[in-house]
Subunit: 599 residues, 2 copies
């Protein structure tokens, strides 16, 4: 029997009722978390987004309310009016635990069937059930907290950028498909049969056009779309904090971004980020950490031992060096005690990064052990150990290969060992670093051409422009990524704002002039009319919220996420649509066997 | 010859340089609005988004800069450093008109071809050219101002709703197609061949689910999409301020909305909106103004003269009354002087609203004129004039028909005459009114069934629920629209939060239970688990900005709008995509003649 509010107003949120409310008459509204009958009384835990309040119904408090309370079940939505009193047996673990509400009036606003998942924070229901009943999963106070953080973070970003004279400008969702990069989501056009819009992978071109438009400082908390196979922590639609500024250089964008990061971590977590944030070149990051997003919360840096390795008789080392590669190693404190099987598993692990094998040295009480000891003199072995500053109890892991492979393998091994040895357990640090001087281009072995490391609009470093055609791999970019605890939080660059340089860039990327103009002509056309120097940056907003909420599941920070197949178990999107809809769009669906589905 | 910034920093915006800057050395950056050579000096008007500053280059100020300045042309992007001095011949119409900048250093940051449109505010280029070169059109200071207002309005909305404990939550763009309402934009799914996502027409279902989730107060400045034929002031994608609250009734939503409106008009225009805003029932609005979005800035209300008309011998009047219709009229001050031809044109005008004709009475110095005078006694004629309170110089226009036709015709005529007679010329008023007690359902003659007037989730008024099946047309809704100067600025309702009532509603709308569950099952499923009473409202954000910027063209308030065919002349979206893309999506395009385009 659902009742209507009929003028009844909530006076306070459940979670806000504390001792200051004692002897006051209040009205709260929310959901029944649990109900217990105890000593002739009925105790109800009432939940709203601010917390949980204990309500007591009794025959002597109000007989009608008491009898109605007896019909309550979990997740009924109710309104209760009564006096707040001091609780006889306080619960100090709860904010509202010192008080309780005497239930004098009770309205059942709506009833509930038995919910298919429990509304509690240590939920272990399967992800699919949680997504199907997302509206119940979201009732958990842990989830409510995440979306408060998400809201507050967006607010902090907007306040900061507004103060810094940025304008938020909405760019179109219905765009042109420019298939450089990830796969586009397409939208058939009804007015132009055979043509399609594409959902934006980022507002990149539009933000640059806004700079050409004289907007000076732009930002947007923007929805972006990529039709990719969903790895963990990818969603088909995601949100980025997109910024662009005119008349700036790298340091300006970096300083502005640091102010923003500082404000967010202060406002949300009361955590002081030290600025300026340290910077590291791409080259140093690769050489020391084997990654362009190094986790600097721990050491175990990669060291080059090629010079020493050259003096061994080990064929693998010699081969790598002769082929222009190197021999590098990491020292892992306390890893000497690892069992042989575990070490063998590490050997398998580095093979997934294309390394041919993993050499190792352990320094135990009983002496040095190593399968490669036989290939070198004791002196050379000691030289390696000295170079690596290894002590008793440590292990040294060595990879010899092409540099690219050595970095990939040792970089991954470093993280894997940190995880295995729980080096970061209880670490609450936020370790930021800017990675700078990225290569402008990366050679794509498959396509046998250079592709843009960031995107084709990134400005080369002034001193490297001369090598654009003669030695493209050598050219560094005015690009910068902000890395937090080994994850990329954002990235950006100074852009090319010169049609001629942009055309050279497209040429190096293997685009014919025709193809380049077909795809990006409107940007190059715009650059004919006095484009300002400009640059910007985009933060991954979902990733940022994951950090702030200490979750490693992107689905936790998106209100209605899709599953790994880009499917929504709740709304059942995507679905089959009416034939009439497809007809109007001049498309038909094709069965797997390439037959039209319409015949 | 483009130069780089190379560490040069802007110190102030052009538009901000006033007498307080005199004798200071500044650096400004922007675009050459115009250049004049005069008396051996070169004068450059430099423009950035804040305004225009006069710069003077001379051989005696700096010879190098002077010579370089001579090469400048319109829309070159430059940086200038120098001292600010008092201008000899001030221009009092400009904010910066009392000063000028002595150009001591000049950098040409980029050159410009002759722009295809002038960058000036009284631009009369064709819309298509303006859209193709949107980035140039946006450089106009008038356009820059609009996007500042748009940004500030969004900021004001977010600040207000944040203070009122609303959380901004992003809802998905990739949704399920629910073809009640306008036409959906579809997105083919790659993972599920033959299936489609749909872009949201509004976040309606998701905001209701957020209430079921316990979010309590939600808002979003949300992108919405409708694949409709574009009338003036429609765009395929548009923005709405979407809000929803739990545990509220109509008055709560209205009060919250009024506070928001008041803040926006105060912050942006320093205009005081009087609250509470007046309210009018749908019935009264239709009877007095022939419209559910009445423009109350002027009178000319519709009056019912059926009683008097019944006493004439005029067949049209008698016929209308016998068929259950009515005879109604408006009095138009000063319209007696309209020529016969103009009045005949009004007769044609009302026919477009299905009225069979227009009767009229003019009260001139020389007496009363009317083609229907012959059908009535002088007494009856005088009674009409008295009832209409018509005076010398006025005209009375009368329509007799079914009520619906009478309201539509006279409502439109009232607006048409106000426009023709320029009644609202120079009127700067913002006249708000809430329209309440809308009919829940409207009978669709074509589909021969009732359709939802707002949407199928709107709560009927308590006292009318009993008629839901027996007399659906009689049922009024807990729905409210906010109307400003005759335009709908927003609308909302209290929602049904009861599965059983929602099912009754779908039944009345002619949905089988199966069809209703197929489309909206996830909402009805959610309603099984203690949904709270809830309601909300959505404002048209683009429309709001149009009011605040005093423009009647929606394209002015959207950074990158589409044209009337949903086409973007700048980016050339939509376009043809690669066959490979379509193959991956398991669709093919169909030629007009229904042949596949692939063979």
């Amino acid at each position: 029997m659902a009742e209507t509010l009929n003028g009844l107003k909530r006076t306070i949120m459940c979670g806000d009722v504390t001792e200051t409310s004692i002897d006051k008459k209040i009205t709260v509204m929310g959901w029944v978390q649990r109900k217990r009958n105890l000593g002739g009384l009925i105790f109800v835990d009432l939940r709203d987004k601010e917390g949980i309040l204990q309500i007591v119904f009794g025959e002597e408090i109000n007989k009608g309310a008491f009898e109605k309370a007896d019909t309550l079940r979990s997740e009924y939505c109710i309104a209760v009016t009564g006096m707040v009193v001091k609780r006889e047996s306080p619960n100090e673990t709860m904010k509202t635990g010192m008080v309780e509400l005497k239930g004098e009036e009770l309205k059942i606003l709506s009833e509930s069937e038995t919910p298919p998942i429990y509304i509690k924070d240590d939920l272990d229901a399967s992800e699919n059930i949680r997504l199907k009943y997302r509206y119940l999963d979201l009732r958990r106070l842990d989830m409510q907290k995440i979306f408060k953080v998400r809201h507050k973070t967006a607010k902090a970003i907007r306040d900061y950028l507004d103060e810094n004279l940025f304008l938020e400008v909405e760019t179109p969702i219905l765009n042109k498909s420019t298939p450089e990069g990830a796969r586009d989501y397409l939208v058939p056009s009804r007015n132009y049969p055979g043509m399609f819009y594409a959902l934006p992978q980022s507002p990149q071109l539009f933000k640059q056009l806004l700079m050409v438009s004289g907007f000076d400082k732009y930002f947007q908390i923007a929805k972006c779309f990529r039709d990719e196979d969903l790895r963990a922590n990818r969603q088909p639609e995601f949100t980025q904090v997109d910024m662009e500024m005119s008349f700036v250089e790298e340091d300006d964008v970096i300083a502005l971004s640091e102010g923003l990061i500082k404000k967010i971590f202060k406002d949300i977590l009361d955590y002081d980020v030290q600025v300026p944030i340290k910077r590291m070149t791409y080259k140093e990051a690769m050489e020391k950490y084997g990654s362009d997003k190094p986790d600097l919360r721990f050491g175990m840096e990669i060291q080059d031992i090629s010079n020493i390795a050259a003096r061994t008789e080990f064929g693998v080392f010699k081969g790598a060096l002769e082929n222009g590669g190197s021999v590098r190693a990491i020292r892992v404190p306390g890893a000497a005690s690892m069992g042989r099987k575990d070490i063998d598993r590490l050997g398998e692990f580095v093979k997934t990064y294309k390394a041919k094998g993993l050499a190792w040295i352990t320094i135990k009480d009983e002496g040095i052990k190593s399968p490669i000891a036989k290939f070198m003199s004791e002196d050379v072995m000691n030289e390696i150990i000295t170079k690596m500053e290894a002590e008793k109890g440590d292990a040294i892991f060595i990879v010899a290969d092409k540099n690219k492979t050595v970095f990939a393998a040792l970089g991954a091994l470093r993280l894997e060992l940190a995880r295995k040895l729980e080096i970061l357990k209880d670490n609450k640090e936020f370790n930021f670093v800017w990675i700078t001087e990225f290569p402008l281009l990366a050679y794509d072995e498959e396509e046998q051409r250079y592709t843009a490391e960031h995107h084709p609009f990134t400005m080369p470093m002034d001193e490297d422009i001369q090598y654009l055609e003669s030695d493209p791999g050598r050219v560094r970019a005015k690009a910068y990524d902000i890395v937090l605890n080994g994850e990329e939080l954002g990235g950006g660059s100074i852009r090319i704002h010169d049609t001629k340089l942009q055309e050279r860039m497209f040429k190096v990327l293997g685009f014919t002039q025709e193809k380049a103009w077909e795809r990006f002509g409107f940007l190059m056309e715009a650059f004919k009319f006095g484009p300002p120097p400009h640059g910007g940056l985009a933060f991954g907003f979902d990733r940022m919220i994951m950090f702030l909420c200490n979750t490693d599941n992107i689905k936790d920070v998106i209100a209605f996420p899709k599953n790994q197949n880009a499917y929504c178990p709740m709304s059942e999107a995507p679905n089959v649509v009416d034939d009439k809809q497809l007809e109007e769009l001049s498309i038909k669906t094709v069965k797997k066997d390439k037959e039209s589905s319409e015949e």
